[in-house]
């Protein structure tokens, strides 16, 4: 997958992954003490939506989203494999859903869907892994719909708003000649 990308694409995607990690390192510590499952995905979701949309606007290749989130995951793997698994599984799912619907990233709707879908999927995957790893008591707690639905809805909303802003920003940057596909 990575072989189809040019050196410039790979470098750009690596810098975007670094930007996503920097945002996570700045925002997640502020909310980590709030005992709401999924809050760590909710807080940085607009930024993830925005940056992923810009990355997909520049590199409109199947696999782009997966490469970015895998790089984020590989860095997190050094700390905890659970975070790596969450990133990679959610990235693969988002990529598969978008490619099943749109076949490529040539349309802006595909970019919007991919960038907006990723963070809500990380909420679902992390809750799923938490339920499997944490045992029956935690599984019962995590699978409570009154807990999941508001967090999932808020994450999806913020993520899609971020992705929409990313599309707008990408178009502005393209008009300015800064963003070249």
């Amino acid at each position: 997958m990575i072989a189809r990308l040019t050196l410039r694409d790979v470098v750009f995607l690596a810098v975007v992954a670094a930007c996503l990690l920097a945002i996570s390192f700045l925002i997640v510590p502020l909310v980590i003490a709030i005992p709401i499952p999924g809050i760590r995905s909710l807080a940085p979701s607009p930024f993830y939506g925005l940056l992923l949309a810009v990355a997909l606007l520049k590199v409109r290749q199947p696999g782009t989203l997966f490469v970015v989130v895998s790089l984020v995951g590989l860095v997190l793997l050094m700390m905890a494999w659970v975070m790596f698994a969450v990133n990679v599984i959610a990235g693969a799912l988002a990529e598969l859903i978008v490619l099943a619907v749109f076949r490529s990233y040539q349309r802006n709707e595909a970019v919007l869907l991919a960038a907006g879908l990723y963070m809500p999927l990380t909420v679902l995957v992390s809750l799923g892994i938490g339920a499997v790893v944490g045992g029956p008591t935690i599984a019962q707690f995590l699978m409570n719909p009154w807990l999941i639905v508001p967090v999932l809805g808020a994450t999806a909303l913020l993520s899609f708003i971020g992705a929409w802003a990313g599309l707008r920003l990408g178009q502005e940057l393209r008009v300015a000649g800064v963003l070249r596909a």
Partner: protein, 233 residues
Amino acid sequence: MFQRLWLASVAQPLHPLLSVACAAVALTFGLLLRDATTLLTFVAGLGLIFMMVGYGVLLARIARIVIPLAALIGVLAALFGGGVSGGLMTFGRISLLGLTIAFAWTIDPTQLARALRQAGAPPLVALSLLITVRSIPTLVGEAVRIRDAMRVRGLSLRHTPLRILYRALVVPLLIRVLTLSENLALALETRAFTGDPRATIYRPVALHRRDYAILALMVILMSGVAGAQWLFN
């Protein structure tokens, strides 16, 4: 924060792939433990191993951040229906996560990229991982510089409307991301980097006696804890 933690780390870090493996195995093992006493014993043992291999200063700095956080979340977990045992388990798991993160702080990204190449990873994967890790402090620095530029113009992050923040913070940061990636790609191209898998490794990374020692200590600790859990439950 990254710089301070990195400087606080050790003169002789472990083999990077061994650090990643130790973090993964320790976290998995800790998550499998179902008893708070055993989990806390494991965490304490892991902390002791850290001190034995010369990671004491790093451990102290990470503990200063992680222990209060773990205690707070543990108390909340205990209050929200987990009881004392649930609170202690939460405290233990977050402390364990802090310790596994400590492994990551000791990894030199360049050594990691070399070790990955030695392990057979494609050069582009090793390179992109290296760029990702190396760019994080640069981008944080850029964000701080942009924030300072905003302050000079009388804008603060808290009291500025979102629409203006988007123009004053997000747009310049994104332009910096694009410029940085263009410059990096150009630098690689001018050095004839093609991602050829036959390229040799400048300085191969080898396992040292310290690496074998930490491996042995980890095996002894995990066997002891697993044995104790089996005996007492």
